[in-house]
């Protein structure tokens, strides 16, 4: 599905809207495009890595047969392990 999307987007170049608007016309006139692109890539790289790490953590916990760590997001460390917020 992703590949199909890429083919559509690349295949339509240089148009964003076919025969109405070119990509160059549609681009922002603001500066800092590289900066925002970098920020987005960094953010999503961090989120992507975190997702993988957390999924692995969940899998490990599940294998060990544990339910959940605590009820409250970051409550006191001594909080009793009961229920669980999924």
């Amino acid at each position: 599905m992703e590949a199909g999307w890429i083919v559509t987007e690349v295949g339509r170049q240089p148009w964003v809207v076919y025969r109405l608007l070119t990509t160059a016309q549609g681009a922002t006139t603001n500066g800092g495009v590289i900066d925002t692109l970098t920020a987005v890539i960094v953010l999503y790289a961090v989120l992507g890595v975190s997702t993988v790490l957390i999924l692995r953590l969940l899998a490990r916990r599940w294998r060990q047969g544990e339910e959940d760590v605590s009820d409250v997001p970051y409550g006191p460390p001594s909080a009793p392990v009961a229920g669980g917020t999924r």
Binding site: T36, A39, D71, T85, R86
Partner: protein, 336 residues
């Protein structure tokens, strides 16, 4: 007429976003201000239980609003996106980090990471509505010009814009506290009920004071909007004020009946007051009207049909979600 219908749909969607996502952002704000691990445990648990089932779906309305805005009013959309690029980027980062922080914080094991991710969620809940407010302020004060080429700091950092940013934060906190009073009452937790009652009163008073301050600064930043707010839109402004005072009175006399409805009605009156005051101007300060800035008629017609279909598809799910949530059937203890 078509363009008025589309404008009305856009305002209605913005109203839903302001109420539902506003309460959601506000819940994050109270999480941020709940204090240390021990003192903040009870309120954080209530907040977490309350927003877990609804926090993602509430942001559907932002997507609706953006799609309607760029399809129906492309020129104005481009101008807003260009002129207020920085606060919009910061709001986007806030939305992304907020969701990620909220979802991840429950799954990590060490307290340090939980705190870090929780703080990400809570801090994002503070900055996102603030920057969204500054964008609305930039539009309302006519700082967004048609065909603008570059964003400048001055566009969205005027007194009115900053005040509207603060107003958004206060309103979010107010809505969330009012909703959380009901949640605490439903759990027969008198301590938490009083806790959020106090916070709702403070946030409500702050929102009221900021609204008045915004109105006063509009006298110099956008005199036309000011005159329309105390002219054509006056009934809605009064309605908003009456709702606000009534909610504060209910809070102080420890009553709960009608609290949520009046809060929602007050916010609705503010959003529609802005819409009515601005009509038929799309971008104040440019003279661009709704009809002049609108997409072709066929596009608008298609948009209305799509909006109706979307509501028909989404509404039953939402009603079921809120019903189950209202009966507290979505909590881990109840579902087993």
């Amino acid at each position: 007429m078509t363009v008025e219908i589309v404008g009305g749909i856009l305002l209605a969607v913005l109203t839903l976003y302001a109420i539902l996502a506003g309460a959601d952002f506000g819940a994050g704000l109270w999480d941020l201000l709940a204090g240390g691990d021990v003192t903040g445990e009870a309120p954080r648990e209530l907040i977490d239980e309350t927003i877990t089932p609804v926090w993602e779906s509430n942001h559907v309305w932002l997507i609706f609003a953006l799609v309607i805005f760029w399809t129906a009013f492309p020129g104005a959309f481009a101008a807003v996106m260009t002129a207020t690029a920085l606060p919009l980027w910061l709001a986007v980062f806030g939305v992304v980090l907020r969701g990620a922080g909220f979802a991840f914080r429950k799954e990590v094991e060490t307290l340090r990471w939980r705190r870090l991710l929780g703080a990400t969620f809570a801090f994002s809940s503070l900055i996102t509505p603030f920057f969204m407010g500054t964008v609305v302020g930039a539009v309302a004060t006519g700082q967004v010009k048609l065909g603008v080429q570059h964003s400048t700091l001055a566009t969205w950092t005027g007194t009115t814009s900053i005040l509207i940013g603060c107003l958004f934060v206060a309103v979010c906190g107010y809505e969330a506290a009012v909703f959380l009073i009901g949640e605490a009452a439903g759990r027969r937790d008198g301590t938490l009920e009083r806790y959020f009652r106090r916070r709702a009163t403070i946030a409500g008073a702050a929102a009221g004071a900021l609204s008045l301050a915004v109105l006063l600064t509009l006298r110099s930043s956008d005199v036309m909007l000011y005159h329309r707010l105390i002219g054509r839109a006056l009934p809605l402004v009064i309605l908003a004020g009456v709702c606000g005072i009534a909610v504060i009175a209910l809070l102080l006399t420890r009553r709960s009946r009608g609290l949520r409805v009046l809060t929602a009605l007050g916010v609705t009156a503010v959003v529609w007051g802005w819409g009515v005051a601005q009509y038929p101007i799309l971008l104040p300060g440019t003279g661009l009207t709704l009809s002049a800035g609108a997409a072709p008629h066929a596009t608008l017609l298609a948009l209305i049909i799509v909006a109706i279909i979307a509501v028909v598809l989404v509404a039953p799910g939402f009603l079921l979600l809120f019903r189950l949530h209202g009966r507290q059937l979505l909590e881990p203890d109840a579902s087993g």
